[in-house]
């Protein structure tokens, strides 16, 4: 059992009681909600005649269902309109702060909370969305929950949970040029497998992690869940603190000093005990692309799609399914695979630094005629910053469509969808069957820079050929 890790410390700090069944009752410091997984929870509160216990500790935004082409109200899609109206009504009734479209702070919940300074070290954070692990980048313990648990947090600000084990993933050296956080996390998931993290929190550590910016760290923690780990985190450091400083909800003045004194002590002890430790060399990671139907089925850009014989017995069943669904032949190269759609956005890679990197690749170039390319900023703030920097214009000049903020084609709950068996090069997090809105649509996950390169060439490309 782990001892003295950041996870242990934050867990113990928030433990309210040991429940009769043996699980722990954990206080949730910050609860984030959105339109998709909250309406039934509010409904259940009403049925049980309960109130929201700490309305100030829940914050709402709208992201999954919002259209990215025309956000004027009412939305064209009646169901989407009904969902945003329900959230508006619930927030008003329960006095929950709601960052709605046009507030200047709306966006994907996992982009917005860090931007507002809501996400802070040492907190427990829960949200009805599996990518809540993103917030672990700040040294918080953050995890996704289902709707019944959203109800429990609303009603009690606590959850019944079993403590997770802790696996440290130590990343030695540095990422090479043209290789990004997305490549590193895809690599980790490939090496460990998509279910290795079940029952674990992942602590990402080592020189390669220290080197990453806060936004890159969010990309890493965001995809912990794709490796099966409900929670992923990174010990906070100076970068963490300076990212938070001066944000809207960050501690101010003498409170900042108090916060800093506490945060500086918040980290895994040098001699803390882990349930497991994995070490890998980040300098060996290359631009990585998924070829299959799970985020673990990835290869580096110059590799061939694995033959059945090259896979472990446990991976063969899903590999067979993947060859068939993707119409790929075992042994074929992933490089030069033609793509139909290029998508840059999502809670994984829809932040300003992601757009900057992609813009650098796109500048002065044109998107291939065969490709539909679109960029969806992660939040209104990201969109504003991009405009101030002229990034939106670089995207538009290259032939990308520039959209309004939202989750968009990461999960295709709005009208941004693949058609038929189109192949998409996507900066999002899941390549599941049908994930991007068409039951036969095919998704290749990669970094935003690699998506930009694919958009220009109309096929999967090595972004290192575009940058000096």
């Amino acid at each position: 059992m782990s001892q003295d890790t950041l996870f242990d410390k934050v867990w113990d700090l928030h433990k309210v009681s040991s429940l009769p069944g043996g699980s722990d009752q954990i206080f949730i410091g910050l609860h984030l909600i959105h339109e998709v997984t909250s309406p039934q929870a509010f409904g259940a509160l009403k049925d049980k005649k309960l109130k929201v216990k700490f309305p100030h500790r829940t914050v709402a935004t709208v992201d999954h269902i919002v259209p990215t082409d025309n956000q004027s109200r009412p939305f064209k899609d009646n169901l989407a309109e009904q969902m945003i109206e329900t959230l508006e009504k619930n927030c008003l009734e329960h006095k929950i702060r709601f960052f709605n479209i046009g507030s200047g702070n709306q966006g994907i919940v996992h982009v917005v909370a860090p931007e507002l300074g809501l996400t802070q070290p040492g907190m427990t954070i829960a949200c009805g969305d599996s990518h809540t692990s993103t917030h672990g980048a700040f040294g918080s313990i953050a995890f996704g929950i289902g709707t019944s648990q959203v109800r429990d947090v609303l009603a009690t600000q606590t959850l019944a949970m079993n403590k997770l084990k802790v696996r440290q993933i130590w990343c030695e050296n540095k990422l090479s040029k043209g290789v990004y956080a997305k490549d590193l996390v895809l690599h980790i998931i490939n090496k460990l497998g998509v279910k290795a993290g079940v029952g674990f929190a992942y602590e990402f550590a080592g020189p390669a992690i220290d080197e990453l910016s806060m936004e890159e760290r969010m990309t890493i923690c965001n995809m912990s869940i794709e490796g099966g780990a409900r929670c992923g985190y990174i010990n906070p450091d100076k970068k963490t603190f300076s990212y938070i400083k001066n944000k809207l909800c960050a501690p101010k003045n003498e409170n900042w000093d108090k916060a800093l004194r506490w945060w500086e002590l918040l980290k895994s002890d040098e001699n803390s005990i882990y349930d497991d430790v994995i070490k890998l060399d980040a300098s060996k990671v290359e631009p990585t692309v998924t070829w299959g139907i799970t985020p673990g089925q990835s290869i580096s850009i110059n590799e061939h799609i694995p033959l059945l014989d090259e896979l472990s017995p446990n991976d063969k069943l899903v590999a067979k399914e993947a060859y068939e669904y993707m119409s790929f032949k075992p042994g074929q190269l992933i490089k030069d695979t033609p793509v139909d759609v290029c998508f840059i956005g999502s809670c994984t890679n829809g932040r300003i630094s992601d757009l900057r990197v992609a813009a650098k690749v796109l500048k002065g170039k044109k998107v291939s005629n065969n490709v539909k390319a679109f960029a969806v900023p992660g939040s209104e703030k990201v969109a504003t910053e991009a405009k101030q920097e002229g990034i939106d214009q670089i995207f538009k000049d290259s032939g990308f469509q520039w959209r309004e903020p939202g989750c968009s084609m990461c999960l295709a709950m709005n009208s941004d969808k693949l058609i038929g068996n189109q192949v998409s090069a996507s900066s999002s997090n899941r390549n599941f069957k049908g994930r991007q809105g068409s039951p036969s649509g095919r998704t290749l996950l990669m970094s935003p820079a690699m998506v930009a390169a694919a958009a220009i060439n109309g096929k999967v490309s090595d972004v290192r050929e575009f940058i000096n």
Partner: protein, 207 residues
């Protein structure tokens, strides 16, 4: 799709029913219920859409479409079932189709918690036993009587010692799987904990 749906309430200790086998590893919640069906403010109509895209692809040959499975209530799956999105809509859709318990090699964490929270016990068994069950289901009906107290599943010919997290087992037997009221019992402790949290004192309050 069964006719009348009622949510489970209170203590859960026995489940008897026919098994339905679904073969495959890493079956994610997008497949269990595609995202377009999440555009709803209640769970009521999800049952009919469970595995919608997989079922369409298999044109009537999906286990959830086979006539002989229409009364099944115990789902038998392989490893990492329910990975991906945290959508509770996935177990809600399974439950509304008629599933009351799931036996598998392993489950994704969030899916597992969601099942517990809505009253679907999830049991694990080694790969070999799951395959034995699934092979049996291929050829004939497998009816199981599950005794949660003993963690035992019995049929005419086969017996299985099921595994389930001890905390989950206790919660079903006591009825505390429906956690809200249990959590609320500690109201004083919750207030106390809140007041002790360092960040509560230095945070800038949202107005």
């Amino acid at each position: 799709m069964k006719s009348e749906f009622t949510s489970p309430i209170g203590k859960i200790s026995n489940m008897n029913g026919q098994c339905i086998s679904l073969i495959g590893n890493d079956i994610d919640t997008d497949r269990i219920i595609p995202a377009r069906f999440l555009k709803c403010v209640n769970f009521d109509s999800l049952g009919e859409s469970v595995f919608e895209d997989d079922r369409k692809t298999l044109k009537g040959k999906h286990p959830f479409d086979l006539e002989e499975n229409k009364n099944a209530s115990i789902l038998v799956v392989n490893s990492n079932f329910g990975c991906g999105s945290s959508r509770e809509h996935a177990p809600q859709a399974l439950m509304r189709w008629g599933i009351q318990a799931i036996i598998g090699e392993s489950f994704a964490d969030i899916f597992y918690s969601n099942c517990i929270a809505i009253g679907i016990p999830c049991f694990t068994l080694p790969k070999k036993s799951i395959e034995e069950m699934q092979n049996y289901c291929d050829n004939q009906f497998l009816f199981l009587e599950i005794d949660l107290k003993k963690s035992l599943a019995k049929s005419k010919e086969l017996n299985f010692n099921l595994e389930i997290k001890e905390s989950s087992r206790k919660m079903f037997l006591s009825g505390e799987w429906d956690a809200t009221s249990t959590l609320l019992e500690n109201e004083n402790l919750i207030e106390k904990k809140f007041n002790l949290l360092p960040y509560v004192k230095f945070n800038t309050k949202l107005s």
